[in-house]
Symmetry: C2
Subunit: 409 residues, 2 copies
Amino acid sequence: VALLTLAVAAADAQQAQGGRQGGRGGRQGGGAFAPPPINWPSPPLGDGPFLIESGDERNLKVVVVTKGLSHPWALAFLPDGTMLVTERAGRLRVIRNGVLNKTPVSGVPRVNGGGLSGLKDLALHPRFTQTRWVYMSYDKPADAGGGMGVSRGQWNGTSLRGVKEIFATGDGGAMRLAFGRDGMLYAAVSGGGGDGPQDPNSYSGKILRLRDDGTVPPDNPFVGRAGYLPQIYSMGHRTPLAMAVNPATGDLWAGEQGPNGGDELNIIRPGRNYGWPVISHGRNYMGPKVSESPWRDGMEQPEVVWVPSIALSGMAFYTGDRFPRWKGNSLFVGGLREGEVPRTGQIQRVVFNAKGEEIRREPMLRELHQRIRDVRQGPDGYLYLLTEEEDGALLRIEPGAPAAPSPAR
Amino acid sequence: VALLTLAVAAADAQQAQGGRQGGRGGRQGGGAFAPPPINWPSPPLGDGPFLIESGDERNLKVVVVTKGLSHPWALAFLPDGTMLVTERAGRLRVIRNGVLNKTPVSGVPRVNGGGLSGLKDLALHPRFTQTRWVYMSYDKPADAGGGMGVSRGQWNGTSLRGVKEIFATGDGGAMRLAFGRDGMLYAAVSGGGGDGPQDPNSYSGKILRLRDDGTVPPDNPFVGRAGYLPQIYSMGHRTPLAMAVNPATGDLWAGEQGPNGGDELNIIRPGRNYGWPVISHGRNYMGPKVSESPWRDGMEQPEVVWVPSIALSGMAFYTGDRFPRWKGNSLFVGGLREGEVPRTGQIQRVVFNAKGEEIRREPMLRELHQRIRDVRQGPDGYLYLLTEEEDGALLRIEPGAPAAPSPAR
């Protein structure tokens, strides 16, 4: 009975979806050899909470903190409990006590909001309580020079004051921001399909290292090297959609999507080349391998790779106390998709051993069929997720029912 | 509502499972850095049929042909519609008109039925209607020399007559059998964790090429080469649990499991080395990468790779008429697991473009939460699956409800 219920529920979800997207199955009939479309709407999310069975932490409760977010991209927690959320079209939203403020924050830079471009990541200055600086990454309009911009402004409790662009690339796409243990601002720039990621005179497909005012730190790996942009910290990236400091080691980790297979997580080290588009574990969307060999001397191998792809998004190392069996051994990575039907975003828990080596992965939350855009740990020790939808949601993962007692053995 | 129903159903399944396996969650609490146990029972399978939403073929019906098979491993279709199924403990079962004969077939060789060893694959002679020969692979008892044996016997309608062992290895484990387009019998031998797969004087981790009487074809790639066993066709295999001839090209494809990541499909060519345990895309169960580079000159790269693993099992290229959108572009690969909870066997449809390059994968049947051991296409054009359980089942996939008409666009 349980299984039939599952099948029927999946059918319901699919029907709702089919109606909204105008019959994808029909469209695909004539093109069995074409790649599938990348964008699809998820089935509507209920009001929750949703009780989910999981692995080491067996019972989870997923709470819908708020809906009403249009393609939210990134989440930041202010010390007073306020949450800031970027919306891709170029709005910054405030959530206080679980309530989404209807009025977007003023003072946000103008962005190119077309396609998948727009306002992207958020980062707080390491000494935010003193400086009040909020950093934003975004795709700039063509008439403002295009490429990625990085701005910062001072948070006065309700809006951003004195917003100023401290850096702009002129090429590539805006991706994640993260402050390192060294106090420097790491800014990831997407490279996409061109040769930019291997061109040291282009910002495309690079992770940059900047001082908090956007200037070049003199100890950057390519400072003073002819033909190299001095902001470059690492190169050969495709779409660095995830970036986070590993709290156990202080290393900067970045994640990027491959095309058809080859999503990867890398430990970012100065001056290294991560290979795109010369080497990859994936295939191009139409079928040929990106590279005959996924390895080349002088280029880095990923720490974690996904074949096939999950279309990874934001990620967070878990250090909280709410989930003792996750603490210190888990990296949670968002995924926009997995498989074909039922279309299924997810998060994946990458589990590490005491040496920081991956020992397994646990797909989670596929039951919700939502594309996940960002994953963050809250100061309260819960995990927070943003869903990538026109009516996107902020979700909070809490412990569910108490775990069953261990049997005596 | 649909989503909550899903969660509850999953909880039901999990509860049933937890009860049977004695609280895995509890066992794992003290060993967060140990690999997860490999064996787990699936939740009980209902009586079906199950209606499942799918991708290009949108509606599937999964029919339970029969239950009552103990760890079935392989399936073969006789010309008169009879189906033969091996059970790992060493029995050969007959299914006629959908009814499982209670009496196993007599004349089957004695096997080592311990652990994951036992009676394994079945293959019919290419001219079965004349020769009536059924071939079997199996793990031999230690007192009979161990390793893999290959026997053949003549099917007389109810039993096997004149069963004779035509080949034995003395090392390695029994895996798949397949007749090639060239009329030769390909026999796969597992290599496991040792160095055997790279040792040309060992059968371990090899795919062998034999004549139909078990003798060596004189045109084998290593015939006459000192230090090489003359039956060897390819080397460097780990666990070749899948083997099938690609009907579009005539190539022999083989699949093998990696440990923690690195399941792969390879096109098997004479004399080639597929790299295990020197190169792999996976990690060892405890975390370290099998190899720093997954590539080495002179060793073959997989055609299709899974990271993380699905614990692949049997596979079948689809050439039937029952599913027009699958015909000629699909390889169905069984999987024993996927992720942690809900524990989920599956099949994956690997979709190829017109050049035979992979363009995507479609996970299917995860809703059933059954480990899949073998996948075959029936002469009736349906797909048949065996579930790897103590009370295992034979499943048949048929078209479900007619597809919704394509909207005008």
